[in-house]
Symmetry: C2
Subunit: 540 residues, 2 copies
């Protein structure tokens, strides 16, 4: 039995924030039923000016804000209306922030000079990023009345963005306890994928990815302890970046269930462009946040010059679960482009090193208490565990462990970490050139139908190893090109389960993203190599 | 009952290494009994050339090796003989390395050019730094036959020093399980303080400090999880530096009992000079060790320019245990010199923030298992817990804790860490100048008589907070100036215990060092400010 009262309170906050969006959207005109792909519907509901503003890329929008070609108020209003429409279509926000956003926009417009590099840019935030004066529930009913974990003297990510000129206009949905790679909760229901409503936009930052794919925001901040930025980015066809831990503060962010200290989670950006990722990272890190958060390393965003020649290793499969045909095709497509540019790229195969072991360690370390903390907070909220929570809690790797067992597991994790790093270091033994980056799937397939995101290891592997990783869009599932493999011999039950998920019809219009991984703290290099790869792909 | 056989084996290895030192020392001439202060005895046993060589400071010795004014063999032989004498006087080595050191020296002499910045420099190593082909026991009987935790492909600290031209000539003693601030074990017995044999040279790197004080080495490598570099340095009147964790690898080092993952330990240098500390840090970090150890942060040794004006906070007491009169005098002495240089220094008081809580958290986190691991390894070796091991195990803070209790403790540690850092950050609120460094005691007194090192918090506080800290010699206990305080009102039982330890006679010739602490990762700044302070003290 779910107690409705606290939920009604959260929903009332959301709906009240939507009700004051001006001018109101003529929602009666929405088609019924909605088409599977709703990405084009904004053209029918927004003004030409709103469409133009919300279609600009981050750099161009900022340029027009700086030279006052666009006012902050104009821009904020356009994104608020587009976000409100996105909410109607894909259920992605926990609240909009019209009053404070417009107040902020008016203030910024009153200044003679831009206040900072983000002057006037609307930015959306995953709900668990605490905001002063607003509640933070982490998609847990028991937490609906929680005050944000932020004090006046603590500067989290938000404060840095604020000082740089951001306008916070939307807070976005996340899954129960933040620990699904999809986005549904007993509070807000299910967030949908704009490309195909039957598919998941990913999670846990799935409110962000859905909103950004709808261009109700073009830069948002999420968090990622197992793929929670990268999977949503891949599922919706946008960009996402999980930095190395210790670069972006987690102060001021709630987690609902206590975080595992053994798995390195990071906050980071999702955006419509690679530039959006770079802008967040450089703006944030140039604020020297390590003085305010002692757990951060004092590395500013470093300008780097890539070597002329790059060695890219393609990981075609992790050796545990083979990716679906569209992902294989995306890898082939990019690999072929790189191979054609021999002057700049050497392409080799990446040998995955016991990723099954990696996933086992990761799952075990997430829930050293066997999920007791999660079960308790669900019980406290009188709410049911959703299927993806249940599935995780029932995994063979998740059980309560003693202090000794956890110490042992952590020691094994450390050993695996060193071994993997030695493995990477050894790629330079023959030719003196160590692999610069790994290009790999962002998941075992494109965005799956709701409820099927159960194999995290393509992303969680890099949390376990604390390597930075960027996801970028490559292609879209093609009904003709991406036929199922016939006579497929599954490697194991997990591979069989994944294989059976695939048929092209289910994945109609599903974007396919890929993931680029560099070594620990090589965040700058990761995005610089991504730029080099995208140039080869004909992008700017 | 202690099983003697394995101990005999370790002792035989040590004695065999001493027996081949050429030419042999005429030990029959040693005074009986030995004088309390043995630091001058080498002048009676070594040749003038040996005295000259071993009296040079690190920079001057390296210069003479580089220009071949001295050969590596000449230098190595001199330090081997002085180290062998030191062993006779203060019992500080687990073995000398005459064969391999001289082979290395001959090789280096055969080269036309210096091989690296440490060309020909004899370096001593605390025993737990694994060396290929040699056993590593961590002062635990059960571990006497242990192979070193080092594999061919793993590069620890040793390999970097080796590649830079070091000659390893001595391995040094440490206390049972490495967890005393003194140095005694059932294998090697008690290491003595060269300044006064009745006093402790500190620990756990007390073999290093005793050997270096005897100038049987002028640069050695230790480790510090609670004061194990800094206390030995202070107790013997030499220099020591505990870097921020994550800057110096711990790969290839054994720990006997599994390390606490919650308390940040670091390896670092002890030396006869500040230059020795800088040389180790710059040589090590310029090797880019983070590629070989994924747990390290990619910060090279950074050249920094200090601000013209420095704000130094003096912590006269930690508010829990007041330091003895000689330590108070040393603080006053340096503070006065700084205050006289108003153009360069502002001196303020440091307000310690709940250091009692810090020590409680630290002790609790060292032994989350209540010491079960230590007890087991002692039982495995059929050896008794030494008094300082027993004392730690019987502390009210040390008990077996459940997984939940440990998670709770770690969360409290994190909170304390943030609070302390906010406290430091707030020192700039009034004048815009945040405190640059804290000058504080390195312990509650000068080197105590053996068996009395029970209050770690003056050093362990900075492990808990992972701040870098350097110790430097300031003065020596003065029988006239350092009279006991009369009518002292102890603040608590620990303060009472410490107060009662003091009388000037006991501490005859005991050096007094002080400690300089900077913020996390400000290792370079710590040594740069130390240089500025020492210049004011009239040193180079």
């Amino acid at each position: 039995m779910i107690e409705r009262n606290p939920i009604s309170k959260a929903i009332a906050i959301r709906d009240k924030s939507l009700a004051v969006i001006e001018p109101p959207l003529d929602l009666d005109r929405l088609p019924d039923p909605l088409p599977p792909n709703v990405t084009q519907l904004p053209y029918d509901f927004l003004t030409d000016e709103e469409i133009t503003i919300t279609s600009l890329d981050v750099d161009e929008l900022l340029a027009r804000l700086r030279n006052k070609q666009l006012s902050c108020v104009q821009v904020t209003k356009a994104f608020l209306r587009r976000a409100a429409l996105a909410q109607q279509l894909v259920n992605c926000v926990t609240e909009l922030l019209p009053e404070t956003a417009l107040e902020r926009a008016r203030y910024l417009d009153s200044l003679d000079q831009p206040i900072g590099p983000l002057h006037g840019l609307p930015i959306s935030l995953k709900e668990h990023h605490g905001m002063r004066g607003r509640l933070t529930n982490c998609a847990l009913v028991a937490c609906i009345d929680n005050q944000p974990p932020i004090k006046d003297e603590v500067s989290g990510v938000n404060d840095v963005l604020w000082e740089a000129g951001a306008v916070f206009h939307a807070r976005t949905t996340q899954p129960q306890s933040l620990m699904h790679l999809e986005t549904s909760s007993n509070i807000y229901g299910v967030t949908l994928n704009p490309n195909n409503l039957k598919l998941s936009p990913g999670g846990s930052s799935g409110g962000e990815s859905a909103l950004i794919r709808m261009r109700g925001s073009i830069l948002g901040i999420g968090g990622d302890s197992g793929g929670s930025i990268r999977v949503p980015a891949a599922n919706t066809g946008i960009y996402g970046f999980k930095p190395t831990s210790g670069r972006v503060t987690r102060r001021g962010t709630a987690s609902g269930v206590p975080r595992s200290s053994s798995i390195n989670g990071s906050h980071g950006p999702l955006s419509t462009s690679r530039y959006g990722l770079e802008l967040f990272m450089s703006t944030y890190l140039n604020s020297q946040p390590w003085y305010k958060d002692v757990t951060l390393v004092p590395l500013p965003w470093r300008e780097i010059t890539l070597q002329k020649h790059l060695k890219i290793a393609i990981m075609w499969s992790d050796g545990v679960v083979n990716p679906h045909p569209p992902v294989q095709r995306a890898l082939r497509q990019v690999a072929t482009m790189l191979q054609k540019n021999k002057a700049q790229f050497t392409v080799v195969d990446w040998e995955p090193l016991e990723h099954d072991r990696g996933w086992e360690l990761t799952q075990s370390l997430y829930y050293g208490d066997g999920g007791a903390g999660l079960k308790k907070i669900l019980a406290d909220g009188n709410e049911e565990a959703l299927p993806l929570s249940k599935w995780m809690l029932e995994s063979k790797n998740v059980r309560a462990r003693s202090r000794e067992e956890l110490n042992q597991l952590t020691a094994e994790r450390d050993k695996y970490w060193h071994t993997y790093n030695d493995h990477w270091q050894a790629t330079g033994e023959k030719d003196g050139h160590i692999v610069d980056a790994i290009l790999c799937p962002a998941g075992p397939g494109a965005a799956p139908a709701h409820g099927h995101s159960k194999y995290w290891s393509y992303t969680s592997q890099w949390n376990l190893l604390d390597y930075p990783a960027a996801v970028f869009p490559v292609t879209v599932v093609d009904q003709a090109l991406d036929q199922p493999e016939t006579d497929y011999q599954p490697m194991n039950s997990e591979d069989k389960r994944n294989h059976e998920l695939y048929d092209p019809g289910t994945y109609r219009d599903a974007p396919v993203g890929l993931q680029l991984v560099t070594r620990r703290y090589e965040d700058e290099k990761c995005l610089a190599i991504l730029a080099a790869i995208e140039r080869v792909m004909g992008r700017k």
